[in-house]
């Protein structure tokens, strides 16, 4: 079968730092091709070079039989390459329709044909089982929905090749299912897909072949069913995962009840959170599960003082009132890792070091003057500990790969050694190795008395990490699971059919 795309001996340096070292990638007609690698391996860069977002330093690209050198993404788009970038790139103020039709507006007599465009938007979203008012500004919808819009937009162009750079990082399992359905349709229609993801199960679910990258090189290409998960991970990390995982997994699950740290009762926020109740004890990892829009993030934001509660009771460490501002919460010993890295996480123009120490600056300061030496020493420690890939601590964080940015943000909270750490989608866009490291790190810290509230769209992750799980549904806590009830089936069941009065489920 002739190849749709071949990229060969691609080199790319950023200000002298190599990001790609003679990397290669081959995609067949009508296949779903997985592109995987550690954070910073060069996946996104590879894609951006293909679509003409960056210019390559060396190497050649052949697409659809012709050697190509795209000057810009729209150039690539014209030739039939449609891309979903890792960072959602849409226009928040404009309506969903406009975002979907951006760049290929429907016209009648040279004028915009709104009815047709709305219809198209609704029809495209329908393929993802999403029914929303497409006339509303995009920013009024959750990250997850925005991600779906981005995907709908990309497949809206009838392309020969659709590139998805970590499309599922902000989707929950249900939506991932839907997405796979669409991917299979596309494949059946002869469209090829490049699929970047750090979730291995997904790869096995939809991908035909896989290209594995490490440190800017292409390490291995294989058919999906010829390679075991273990080999995959080993090739990707260049070492065995098991050596990364400390076997302290259940240490804290065993141990008995501790003093309450955070208790949230009958919380109500806006129109999305009606009656949410949960609590976290010292040294305990508690999970918040729920479908997207179930109110997890907004509940968390209120606990952290980022939003105002409208009802209910929040008690953190014997302080019976909620924090008024994040600053207050931080002083009280809370950390909050936002789910939206770009919008609420990084400060792009600041260095890795400044970003990492942002939350502890006051502590780092002697009467208002930052103690650079100490900050350097701390930063070096965390770069080492989390294996953050950066040219130097002084490199601008915007130049880091998505996953490495996420690690820096996590470090921002770990370095203040908090009492309670709220993690909203903590492993979003992080490779399996790092994910395992981070989760075990969290467990380790919990072992030392840190309370953790973890929100994740990956059930498996919550279940693995948490000793208790609260299930949210339409802004209500519908179930609390603990003990052996902490397993994917029960959580799924609760998420789907959970009744609206709080139900304790404990098997023993």
């Amino acid at each position: 079968m002739p190849l749709l795309l071949t990229m060969q001996r691609i080199d790319k340096r950023f200000a002298g730092v190599p990001a790609l070292r003679s990397a290669s990638l081959e995609v067949e007609h009508g296949e779903v091709h997985a592109l995987i690698g550690q954070n910073g391996a060069g996946k996104s860069t590879m894609i951006k070079i293909l679509t003409g977002y960056y210019a390559k330093d060396a190497g050649e690209i052949v697409f659809d039989g012709k050697p190509v050198e795209f000057s810009s993404p729209q150039d690539a788009q014209k030739s039939g390459i449609s891309t979903i970038y890792q960072e959602i790139n849409l226009v928040p103020y404009r309506s969903v329709t406009e975002n979907i039709c951006l760049g290929r507006e429907r016209r009648r007599f040279g004028l915009l044909n709104w009815p047709a465009m709305h219809a198209e938007a609704e029809e495209l979203l329908a393929r993802f089982n999403i029914r929303i008012d497409v006339r509303q500004p995009l920013m009024t919808y959750p990250t997850a929905v925005q991600q779906m819009v981005a995907i709908a937009r990309a497949i809206g162009f009838d392309a020969k090749l659709v590139i998805m750079d970590e499309p599922t990082s902000s989707l929950d399992d249900k939506e991932v299912e839907v997405l796979f359905g669409v991917i299979r349709q596309l494949k059946a229609a002869g469209v090829s897909i490049i699929f970047v993801s750090h979730k291995l199960d997904e790869l096995y679910a939809v991908c035909d072949r896989v290209t594995i990258m490490r440190d800017g090189r292409t390490i291995r290409v294989s058919r999906m069913d010829d390679i075991s998960k273990l080999d995959l991970v080993t090739a990707m990390l260049g070492r065995e995962l098991s050596r990364v995982l400390h076997e302290d997994g259940d240490s804290q699950r065993a141990s008995g009840p501790r003093d309450p740290l955070l208790t949230v009762e009958h919380l109500a926020v806006g129109r999305k959170v009606h009656d949410v109740t949960f609590d976290v004890r010292e040294g305990e990892i508690v999970g918040l599960a729920g479908l997207l829009g179930s109110g997890r993030t907004e509940s968390a934001r209120v606990v952290f003082g980022a939003d105002r509660p409208e009802g209910g009771k929040i008690q953190f460490h014997n302080v019976p009132k909620p924090a008024a501002e994040p600053a207050e919460a931080i002083l009280a010993g809370m950390g909050f890792l936002s789910e939206d890295r770009k919008l609420e996480g990084i400060i792009p123009d600041m260095s890795v070091r400044e970003n990492l120490t942002l939350a502890i600056m006051p502590q780092l300061a002697k009467n208002g003057v930052v103690d650079e030496a100490r900050s350097r020493e701390i930063v070096d420690r965390f770069i080492e500990r989390l294996g953050i890939r950066c040219a130097s601590p002084e490199q601008r964080i915007r130049e880091l790969s998505g996953g490495n940015q996420q690690k820096v943000l996590l470090a921002r909270w770990l370095c203040m050694n908090p009492r309670l750490l709220i993690l909203d989608e903590p492993t979003r866009g992080i490779d399996v190795g790092a994910k395992a490291e981070i989760l075990s790190l969290v467990r380790e810290l919990a072992g030392q008395g840190l309370g953790v509230l973890i929100i994740s769209s990956e059930l498996e992750e919550v279940v693995e990490a948490a000793s208790r799980i609260f299930v949210l549904r339409d802004g209500n806590t519908v179930a609390q699971l603990s003990g052996d009830a902490v397993n994917e089936q029960d959580v799924m069941a609760a998420m789907a059919h959970g009744h609206n009065e709080l139900r304790e489920t404990v098997h023993d």
Binding site: V91, L102, L112
Partner: protein, 333 residues
Amino acid sequence: MTESVTTLPPTRSTSGFDIKSFLTRHGAWVALALLILFNLAFTPNFATWQTLNVNLTQVCAIVIVGVGMTLVIATGGIDLSVGSLMAIAGSLAPLIFLGKLFPLPHPAVGIALAFVVPVLVAGAFGWFNGWLITRLRIQPIIATLVLFIAGRGIAQVMTNGNLQVFKVPEFQYIGLGRLFGIPFQAVLMVVIVVAAGWMLRRTVFGRQILAVGGNERAARLAGIPVVSVKRKVYWISGLLSGIAGLIVIARNSAADANLVGLGMELDAIAAVAVGGTLLTGGRATVVGTLVGALIIQLVRYTLLANGVPDAAALVAKAGIIVLAVWLQRQNQS
């Protein structure tokens, strides 16, 4: 599968009708209405045809420039050079129809050229702004600051600092003429507002402007020709400034390179902001700008007509601007 159908209400959709949300959504209109009522009540012979004309003719220039400013701001930019471009166009026109630039075969030719050339020249300078911004990647506020400073210099060089006087009814029709008893400039203003508003809402170009202002990177990735969109927008702003310049000199039967369009940039920006356009780009309303300009004009007139001392007038004007803008901001947070 059906159970996983996502039917979210938008997080920040409008929650039913209440007086506050109404106020905030139509803040500008409300403010305007209040002003008119106030005047009807207190300002001597306000409800006269003459008053209407005075206000219309005085607001025209601001509105016409404001429309261009609205488009520029919609792309996330700003144009400080409008006043200077008015001066350039205003100084050039008389040079042409007075035949100081080149001999005229027939006066009519001069008049015709005096309408066309200055506007095109202003447009060219506007395009130059766009070029500085897109090609040299200079931030709009600085790029246009350049012509804000240099523009007057250029105008003065052209006229070597002299005032130009004239009495050319055919040309001055643009500033003094009437159509069905309505000042021609007012008619022109309305036409421009309607056209621009329609363009912004109905045409692809309009959408592109808003997309660029909403998220430039996304727009570029979506294949929108960001560069040309920006250049066009500054070009339009230039053209409209040129027209405004002609109106002003026609009204005064004199062109003064030092004074034509002085301080216009801030009046225009204020009008845009009061009208409810987001100064960070991505959202714009041309009609709003018209309303905003009317508010500012009416405030000025009210204070003048009621003999409020200047100093106090300035303070009041500022107060009203902040009020109107604040009303707007309520539902944008």
